[in-house]
């Protein structure tokens, strides 16, 4: 099932339908008021996946690994991120629900397993636009650093490696598909990170630079740092535009985070400011010769922990604080 953004394609189908759903919908709303259930109804797609139409020819699929961007059109399907290896069957089924045309490109916005785990199987299910020796599957496009990251993984299938890459020092790399410019730029949060812009749709896939469900993963092992994270968010603010001057009418550029809901420039600013405040707070504590343990105990992320913190899972608050600490320590030594 595909949900739509309100205002973009609001379904005022028929009065009959409206009348049928009104009692149930208002009941749900009022139950939400009473606090007995969440009023936000999930709209599942295949398996536990959920599909949301973001723009006319742009969708996201969420629920396995990082959010997957789906651009569709007459040339076929372009995917940003391939999810986990285990999630590929559901992902492919969800993509088929959007478009019957073949997948032409898989673009990795980073090198993590939640992005590249499905590369091989998703690409194999696609069809390249080019003649042999490329193909027969879809092209896999990424920063050159992603290859280095994948090469570190024992048993990672070589047919999941990017077939085309760009270097982080390149200003940008672009191609034009489905009547739309698709632009990759290096996101300096970590070595393999890319922003992927869809210029006609006015959507940016922000990769791991921004996560609406947790603090960002600072990947120290692959060139990540808190300074790089902030630089990347500042870069993102250069390409995610607010709806000025008609701020009452539009949302501006949509930003798709690694996880969580679709965002826009407003949330990027909030996220950037949060990172700056946390960095400076921890740096101030380090200047006062506090140890990592003392800093963790002082809770330098208290203001944001209720929204983005976690004590369990693969990326806890303490892991984030430690990563910022070590990142600042490393920067000091340089």
């Amino acid at each position: 099932m595909t949900a739509k953004i309100p205002g973009e394609a609001v379904t005022q189908a028929t009065r009959a339908i409206v009348h049928r759903v009104v009692a149930v919908a208002l009941s749900v709303v009022m139950l939400g008021v009473l606090g007995t259930i969440s009023a936000r109804a999930a709209q599942p797609g295949n398996g536990d996946l959920e599909t949301l139409k973001v723009r006319q020819n742009f969708y996201i699929i969420a629920g396995d690994g990082d959010n997957v961007g789906v651009q569709v059109g007459r040339d076929g399907v372009v995917l940003v991120n391939a999810g986990t290896a285990a999630g590929v069957p559901d992902l492919l089924a969800a993509v088929k629900n959007i478009s019957p045309l073949p997948i032409r490109y898989v673009i990795d916005s980073g090198g993590g397993a939640a992005i590249t785990g499905g590369n091989a199987a998703v690409a194999a299910a696609g069809q390249t636009l080019f003649n042999p020796p490329k193909g027969p599957g879809a092209e896999i496009f990424a920063s050159a650093s992603v290859i280095e990251q994948l090469a570190e993984i024992d048993g990672y299938p070589s047919n999941g490696w990017p077939t085309d890459t760009y270097l982080p020092q390149e200003a940008l790399r672009s191609f034009y598909v489905n009547d739309e410019p698709v632009v990759l730029t290096h996101a300096p949060a970590a070595d393999g990170d890319s922003f992927v812009q869809f210029r006609r749709s006015d959507v940016v896939m922000a990769g791991e630079v921004m996560d609406m469900t947790r603090f960002p993963v600072i990947d120290l092992a692959h060139g990540g740092s808190i300074g790089g994270e902030i630089a990347a968010l500042n870069d993102l603010l250069q390409i995610a535009l607010p709806p000025s001057p008609f701020i009452y009418e539009y949302n501006g550029t949509y930003v798709i985070p690694a996880h969580g809901r679709v965002s826009d420039q407003w949330e990027v600013v909030d996220y950037r400011d949060m990172m700056v405040i946390i960095r400076d707070t921890i740096a101030d504590m380090m200047r006062r010769h506090m140890s990592l343990e003392q800093i963790e105990a002082a809770d330098p992320v208290k203001a944001y922990e209720g929204r983005f913190g976690s004590t369990t899972g693969p990326w806890t608050t303490n892991m984030f604080v430690a990563a910022v600490y070590h990142s600042l320590q490393a920067a000091k030594k340089k």
């Binding site: 949900a3 009692a23 208002l26 009022m30 009023a39 949301l52 607010p242 420039q265 700056v276």
Partner: protein, 332 residues
């Protein structure tokens, strides 16, 4: 006794909400055409005397009194530097739907009707300025996906409970709910109850925020119908200009470094435990606690008004038990 009174008041408020919600719930079970839609349309003007510090000049820094905030919110607000609003990246941001509650001026309601049936499918509510307006859908549409963006108008649905319009709002932006650094999170929700009584409109705004509030934050205001003067929202286009902060800079105060947090003590002699807010500061008992301290320490207070002296917001007069010292301002 005081506790009992406060509890009674809170219970009354909650009782009123519960009744309203229950009525709305009952109304929700009715088909759309069976629900009577009251006419709330028109311009409603807020008397200038209500909550004027909150709505006009803005609250004193560090004044979180009466807000059920948690430690996270307090930490966030303590770090707040109003220069943040001058960040070029923030200049064209707006307030959110809470601006209806504590914004400076007035409201305007009008109905949106179906082009086919002429039934009212939504009520639009606009404040005077600085927020995107609220479209209250009355047609029973479902909530947006949890993946959907939170746009500036948020998402509101409504129903009638008698002549009360009950509005539930979700999908809000994170924005100030008090203009000294207290923000709601994007997980906050609002329930507004608009109760017209002839030419008087009573509005009760309730914010719940699982991230930053420990109890519902309730705010009530009243408005007079303005048949002769239409409320004109100032919805000017916005362009970014330099307002003193360079792009990429984030003005804020490190923990313990905000020099303004003692203003409540300096100006109003409100002790820190009260000005820091928290659910307990919503209830009348806090007055008794503060009064004892106020009287005991009165002799240490400045004897001359230094701020807001001619605006009616001067520090309070001396308590009768505090001797002959005068604290009347006059000052400047």
């Amino acid at each position: 006794m005081a506790r009992n009174n406060s509890q009674f008041r809170v219970n009354s408020l909650r009782g009123m909400m519960t009744v309203a919600v229950a009525l709305a719930f009952g109304a929700a079970a009715l088909p759309l055409q069976a629900q009577e839609q009251y006419d709330i349309s028109g311009s409603w003007v807020a008397p200038g005397t209500q909550n004027i510090m909150e709505r006009a000049a803005g609250p004193v820094a560090g004044n979180f009194l009466g807000m059920p905030i948690n430690d996270g919110e307090r930490t966030l607000a303590d770090s707040y530097n109003s220069g943040m609003l001058a960040e070029p990246e923030r200049i064209c941001q707006l307030y959110n739907q809470w601006e209806l509650a504590d914004g400076p001026w007035n409201l305007r309601f009008w109905p949106q009707v179906s082009p086919y049936t002429r039934e009212i499918v939504a009520w639009v509510i606009e404040g005077t300025e600085s927020q995107a307006g609220t479209t209250v859908w009355m047609d029973g549409r479902s909530q947006p996906s949890k993946l959907a963006p939170h746009d500036r108008a948020a998402f509101s649905t409504g129903s009638w409970a008698g002549n009360m319009l009950v509005v539930h709002t979700t999908d809000m932006k994170s924005a100030p709910i008090r203009r000294n650094g207290v923000f709601n999170s994007d997980e906050a929700t609002m329930t507004d109850i608009f109760s017209p009584h002839g030419d008087l409109l009573t509005a009760t705004y309730v914010m719940e925020d699982p991230v930053y509030l420990t109890e519902p934050y309730i705010y009530a205001r009243s408005y007079d119908r303005s048949p002769e003067r239409s409320v004109s929202p100032h919805w000017d286009p916005c362009i970014v200009n330099y307002e003193g902060v360079d792009e990429g800079n984030v003005p804020f105060y490190l923990p313990g470094k905000n020099p303004l947090l003692s203003q409540m003590m300096q100006i109003y002699h409100i002790p820190e435990y009260a000005s820091q807010g928290g659910a307990e500061t919503m209830y009348p008992e806090i007055r008794d606690k503060m009064k004892a301290q106020f009287v005991a320490s009165y002799h240490t207070f400045p004897k001359k008004c230094t701020l807001y002296c001619s605006t009616g917001f001067a520090p309070p007069p001396p308590p009768k038990t505090a001797g002959k010292a005068s604290a009347s301002g006059g000052g400047d």
